[in-house]
Amino acid sequence: MIVSMIASAPSAFRPAGPLPASPLAPYAGPWNARLAAHLLRRAGFGGSPSDIQTAAGQTMNGAVDALIHFPSTDSLPEGPELIDNDEGTPLAAPLVMSSPMPDASGTDAATNAIVEARKQRAMLRRRQELANVTWWLDRMLVSPAPLQEKMTLYLHGHFATASGTKGIYGTDIVDQNWLLRHYALGNWRDLTHQIARDRSMLKWLDNARNVKAHPNENFARELMELFTLGIGNYTENDVRESARAFTGYTFRRRTGEFYFNVAQHDDGDKTFLGHTGNLNGDDVIDIIFAQPAAPKYFARRLLEFFVYSDPEPELVDAFAATIRKNDFNMAPVMSALFRSNVFYSDRTYRALVKSPVEFTIGSYKLFGLTEVAPQTVGVLNRMGQVPFHPPSVKGWDGGAQWLNTQTILARENFASEITTAAAQGKNFLNAGPPANARDEAQALTHTILQGDVSPGSVADLESYLDGRGTSADGMLSGENFEERMRGAAYLTMAMPAYQLS
């Protein structure tokens, strides 16, 4: 009872005011650095001051084209460093004990052997997890195809699968990541067919154990609830029938390849969403994608990730029509969204909270850094988002869920560290000779926040730069310039706008 109340409560986070007319029609207004930075934040991970200049120097259509028709990424590393495993067995393989299992009376030596072997395996697995995450973060940072990585991150949250649990170890999750990247701007019906065959997903939602005699509904349920339709668009009976259709979808233990185990497949008639026959899992997916609820579900999820929270039903319907018209081919769909009136409207601008990944990678880009420090994984953990480790199959809620005192402190402290690191490198963010405090405060807030600050904050920043109130330290000068500018950049990153995308 309370649930339906909660679910239907209007979100406090939908932008105020009316939806513009023709929200998805091409935007024809002015183009400037502010909107170019907005596009780079949403369709990528932000950019350096020169990236923003470049995009602002193009037309809006040119800037979007550059994102959609991205260059080859062949020069990037194909995968993470592979952690050595002395025994030569894959990290995902079940641990086979070399010592015999202890009997009921058990010896301490046997117990210790198990504990020791598991410890070793756990250590190697943790190192591989870390290598996986840093590999992807580095790719987000340096890829010449930021939209490809952004769509991959979206899909990772959509088909959320966590590594390091349920037998998903080693580079299982990296294989899934490549599947998502391959279809990032491709056909998402095809992607869903492939996801149903993905080894990590088969383990994660137990379909590898979904057999004729004991159907396991986990994947069948989440496929509709979280991946394609949303609650309310199917019945419990559809879940049961779908689970039967997916029986026998498993993988070969030796190679990890998908394998349709005919012997474990239930080949009786099933009735699913009004269709009756000897349906298999692929039939189920095709039936799902023919439901009007499917494009609507994808439309809502995409708008919440790329545009703003709690989008209006009429906007969802209009975007769903775009998805349906393009038959789930996402390149033209995303292309239309990034050129639309609503995307460049005031209601969309800074209307989302940056995710921890957007916050950290965007900061690296801002300062022109090209390698992600391994400690960033720990920092992301404190902020509440580690790629490949979503909290559940529901992915990350985003929005207000990113914000609490501890995660905000983690963000501020990361800003303090990265400005220190950047300051050690070069006279960052300032091309010309040191100017006066007022000009530097203006320049910094423009470079970092496109001027999205309270005039009071700029004045506060100027006071800080001039050492006002700190007595003997003196005004901004060549001597204290580096230190003060570092502090001022940190303070600018603490301003509310920097938390917003």
């Binding site: 105020a16 058990g106 198990i114 953990n381 909290p391 501020e412 309270s454 007595s471 917003l500």
Partner: protein, 408 residues
């Protein structure tokens, strides 16, 4: 955002020096607390201990009088000679000695077989279910968060509830009350704290007035930044006056409960404190891990209540444990146990009626190898909301659940 503007106003015209910052902090250190008599319903505190990873209930509250227990637990079964018997069927794990001492004084209630229908065996999902109290739906608020929202707490208090955890757990998420997440006092703060001018500037630049854009998240961001900055500066000062003779175990849980006692004793108006302990995910070689964790639990809780009692605070603090699931009844081939279903909960405090509640799950009729729940965990939540906090469960729990006579 009123508060932020007030602060900026207070700072304007001040020469910001180390002294001024101190003065400023002192001005803030006068918490606007409701005037509540100790022991009144409004003054009560709940401590929630999350036993993360799925604690093996059968080896915590041991059904040593059920023959099937030893059949399913050939190597992990705890001998009748070792259990700390509560009656002729049920006993406690020998590592829980300090808790047994509290049980004997009537300060511990054990709710046997707590769980919910159609249990989920995933850590994530089952944790979420226990935290949101919603087994059948995905909701974004926790039951404590909803309780805080409904409880008419003073908005100005930054510490209406605290989560002693690195990330705000779902159970503490509400729609109105912002609960600070604090991993440990050390490290809870801005790393620029040594730099006086930077810190002073931080308080002023975090403002949302007259920004040239509108965002539905703007005031939320500004509020939380303000709370994080002020709260992390204030908290150490607010609790500095509390002194204690207690020696807490040098474990993460010991440190958390020491901080919890300090927060309770400093009377910050805090109503709920969340702490976590684990990991109990003992798929292999369970005994050494679970023994250590249970020992740490009992030890820390006993010191916590002794400490509270020494400060006259023990009767206004209720502690509840939960874990996302119990474990399989039959041990596996690695001297461990896999994910299961029902498990006991502890409710601890100076003002309760201790004893065994509910029925121990049957070990004769298993549900696919799992113990079936006998008490819905939401009955325990309902008992806490209605009897401890003396509030209705409307808006907190979906549906109505019978309360247990743990509390009068």
């Amino acid at each position: 955002m009123q508060r932020s503007r007030f602060l900026i106003g207070a700072l304007a015209g001040l020469t910001v020096s180390a002294n001024a910052t101190d003065l400023f902090a002192k001005a803030l250190a006068m918490p606007a607390l409701p005037n509540v008599a100790p022991g009144a319903a409004d003054d009560r505190v709940l401590v929630v201990i999350n036993l993360q990873g799925g604690n093996d209930g059968l080896n915590t509250v041991v059904p040593y009088g059920m023959p099937n227990y030893y059949r399913y637990r050939p190597t992990l079964g705890i001998s009748p000679h070792d259990v700390l018997a509560l009656d002729n069927t049920i006993g406690l794990n020998p590592q829980l000695g300090p808790l047994k001492a509290m049980y004997d004084k009537g300060q511990v209630a054990i709710v046997q077989g707590a769980g919910y229908p159609n249990p989920d065996h995933s850590h994530f999902r089952s944790t979420e279910i226990w935290q949101t109290a919603e087994p059948e739906h995905y909701v974004s608020t926790g039951w404590v968060g909803r309780f805080l929202d409904e409880a008419d707490l003073p908005e100005a208090n930054l510490f209406n509830a605290v989560a002693l955890a690195p990330v705000l757990p779902a159970v503490m998420v509400g729609r109105r009350v912002d609960v600070p997440a604090i991993a440990a006092l050390r490290g809870y703060g801005l790393s620029s704290d040594g730099n006086v001018s930077e810190r002073a500037a931080f308080a002023t630049v975090v403002r949302d007035d007259r920004v040239p854009f509108s965002s539905p998240y703007l005031s939320t961001v500004a509020t939380i930044e303000d709370h994080a900055q002020r709260g992390s500066e204030e908290l150490p000062k607010l609790i500095a006056g509390y002194s204690s003779q207690a020696t807490y175990p040098a474990t993460p849980l010991g440190r958390s409960l020491a901080l919890a006692a300090q927060i309770v004793g400093s009377r910050l108006g805090t109503r709920v404190i969340y702490v976590q302990h684990g990991s109990f995910d003992t798929h292999a070689a369970q005994k050494p891990t679970q023994d250590r964790l249970l020992h740490e639990l009992a030890d820390a809780v006993k010191v916590f209540y002794d400490d509270l009692a020494a400060h006259g605070e023990d009767k206004r603090v209720l502690t509840m444990t939960f874990s996302e699931f119990g474990r399989r009844v039959a041990e596996n081939g690695s001297r461990g146990t896999d994910h299961g279903e029902a498990a006991p909960m502890f409710v601890i405090g100076g003002g309760i009626t201790g004893g065994l509640y509910g029925k121990h799950p049957s070990l004769d009729a298993l549900d696919n190898g799992d113990a079936t729940f006998t008490t819905d965990f939401r009955s325990v939540y309902a008992t806490i909301v209605e009897k401890w906090f003396q509030r209705p469960t409307t808006g907190v729990l979906a549906g109505s659940f019978p309360t247990l006579p743990i509390l009068a």
